[in-house]
């Protein structure tokens, strides 16, 4: 039970050390380190990376959500076509969806033009892709559980009360 909590804590802050985790959960440090190794080996933990707000840098980034309608293949269904799409480094995520379309693909590039070209030249021509609808991201308010838009960032207003 407590070991499962390791995942939740790491999902929130990937920089927590086994020592810190063991103290917080009241578990043995060695056991925690072993569990993390196990999760990494079994592919439960797929990696650790920083959440970067590119809007605050000089680097240009554009991102879009692309709705794809595709015709499923005999035997392999959607898997084959999803496999082809996710091989492109421009593609950040691929989800199979219920509802009005089949695959939701997020793509990032340097400019909107780059992203548009990628859809037009790479995604749309794939065999089995029936249609694409590209929605550009205008602002990221929240991503990966973290608030990005500075207007909504948390301000600690506490500390004005003198007898709490």
């Amino acid at each position: 039970m407590a070991m499962e909590q390791i995942l939740e804590l790491l999902q929130e802050d990937g920089k927590l050390t086994p020592k810190q985790l063991s103290v917080m959960l009241g578990e043995d440090e060695g056991e925690v380190a072993k569990a993390i190794k196990g999760y990494e080996k079994d592919g439960v933990i797929k990696g650790y990376h920083a959440l970067i707000n590119w809007e605050r840098t000089d680097t240009q980034k554009a991102a879009a959500l692309i709705e794809l309608r595709v015709s499923p293949q005999k035997d392999t269904g959607f898997d084959e076509i999803a496999g082809r799409i996710m091989n492109f480094p421009e593609v950040e995520s691929v989800y199979l969806m219920s509802g009005g379309y089949d695959l939701a693909v997020t793509v990032s590039g340097r400019t909107m033009q780059d992203v548009a070209m990628f859809v037009q030249k790479r995604l749309a021509p794939i065999d089995g892709v029936l249609s694409t609808a590209t929605h550009f991201v205008l602002t990221r308010y929240k991503d990966g559980g973290v608030i990005f838009n500075s207007d909504y960032e948390e301000i600690d207003e506490r500390g004005s009360n003198l007898c709490d």
Binding site: D13, V23, G159, N161, C163
Partner: protein, 390 residues
């Protein structure tokens, strides 16, 4: 010239301002201050609770409520107390909704205390009990607690302070600033003394939901024979992260609650309506949030206790609230000097223990209602500070 000294109430004029103020003033003038000083949750009020408040406003529910608070809220309070602490209160006659736990404390003391009555107050504790007693004309009698007993009240030290004028015992557990909680055997001993000397008890249980023991919080009125002698004070600020909504409650014998209602109806009329709507939602659907926040605090508690002990600031394990109360005696500094140098040299704000009574000298109150990242950074700075002292 008007000589106000002759016109104002001398009892109130004599009350000293809180000792915490000076540190806030210093902290406010500095940049890059990491504070571990506040006494309120960092969690926002859960969204479904805020939404219930908003919805009540949209519907125009902006009028007074009954003096005692909405009947449905009192019913939910009664169910909550039964569900979590196994105590039964009649929502119609034994529950009063107040403006925070603080108002309930004030009403209770004023309803019971006549000039010259003695009120027993374990110390260190929250800063309001002594002035509220004095304002009622009562005599505050403090009972020192210390680290040798984990800052818990013992029956022996209680009995030593009882005189024929003793009327009321205040039980501030889980304790601010020490984080101490009482154990069952000790409570049973205290109850015997209360019975023997015919005392009443004001049990301030505002931190009840933040108890980290296996058994969980023990409500004082659940002890044998204590229901008729106890006024339980609790509220929404700490359990549901609702400090700014200013809502609490008292539960106790109808004979005492009815007196508190009289004071409340003339001074306050009724607790804020919007807050009462939000609180109904909190009690109906908020147990999960409460448990989530408790487990988050619990993890931070372990982290900070471990960190402080490693640094060499000895601290006993607090089992409740969201404070640790380490000793700074090993540094050779007084509480005030420690806090002042820590904020000037490392920009970390903590509260000197003597702000909560003279027996808090030699300790500091450190709050862990902050993120793990914030706590880790603060511990690093405290460590540097200690290393440079040696």
């Amino acid at each position: 010239m008007i000589d106000y000294d002759k016109l104002v109430n001398p009892i109130i004029k004599k009350i000293k301002p809180s000792g915490i103020r000076r540190f806030f003033d210093i902290a406010n003038e500095m940049e890059d201050v990491i504070s571990l000083s506040v006494g309120e949750p960092d969690f926002y009020t859960p969204w479904h609770i805020r939404e219930a408040g908003i919805e009540s406003l949209e519907k125009g529910r902006t009028r007074y409520t009954p003096n005692r608070g909405f009947a449905v809220l009192r019913e939910e309070v009664s169910k909550f107390l039964a569900r979590h602490y196994a105590v039964e209160y009649d929502p119609m006659s034994e529950v009063l909704i107040t403006v925070g736990g603080s108002e309930a404390i004030d009403l209770c003391v004023r309803s019971l205390i006549t000039p010259g009555d003695e009120v027993l107050i374990p110390e260190p504790s929250f800063v309001c009990y002594v002035p509220i007693t004095e304002m009622a004309g009562g005599v505050p009698v403090t009972i020192e607690t210390g680290p040798e007993n984990g800052f818990r009240l013992t029956a022996k030290s209680l009995e030593e302070k009882i005189t024929p004028r003793t009327k009321l015992l205040i039980m501030p557990y889980p304790n601010n600033p020490t984080g101490a909680v009482m154990e069952r055997e000790e409570l049973l001993e205290i109850a015997k003394v209360v019975e023997k000397h015919n005392l009443l008890v004001l049990s301030d249980e505002i931190y009840a939901a933040l108890t980290y023991t296996k058994e969980g919080h023990i409500c004082f009125s659940s002890l044998p024979g204590m229901k008729g002698r106890t006024i339980v004070v609790n509220g929404f600020s700490k359990a549901h992260s609702m400090t700014g909504w200013r809502l609490g409650y008292a539960a106790g014998p109808r004979e005492i609650i009815s007196l508190m209602v009289k004071l409340h109806q003339f001074a306050i009329m009724s607790a804020p309506t919007t807050s009462q709507y939000a609180a109904i939602e909190a009690l109906k659907n908020g147990d999960g949030d409460m448990e989530h926040m408790r487990s988050q605090y619990d993890m931070r508690r372990r982290l900070i206790v471990d960190g402080l002990n490693e640094i060499g600031l000895k601290c006993f394990e607090p089992k409740g609230a969201f404070y640790v109360f380490p000793s700074v005696k090993s540094t050779g500094l007084t509480s005030a000097d420690f806090c002042e140098r820590l904020i000037y040299e490392k920009h970390v704000a903590v509260v000197p223990g003597d702000a909560f009574g003279p027996s808090g000298e030699g300790f500091v109150r450190i709050s862990y209602c902050y993120s793990v990242k914030h706590i880790t950074e603060a511990l690093e700075r405290i460590k540097e500070f200690i290393l440079e002292l040696i």
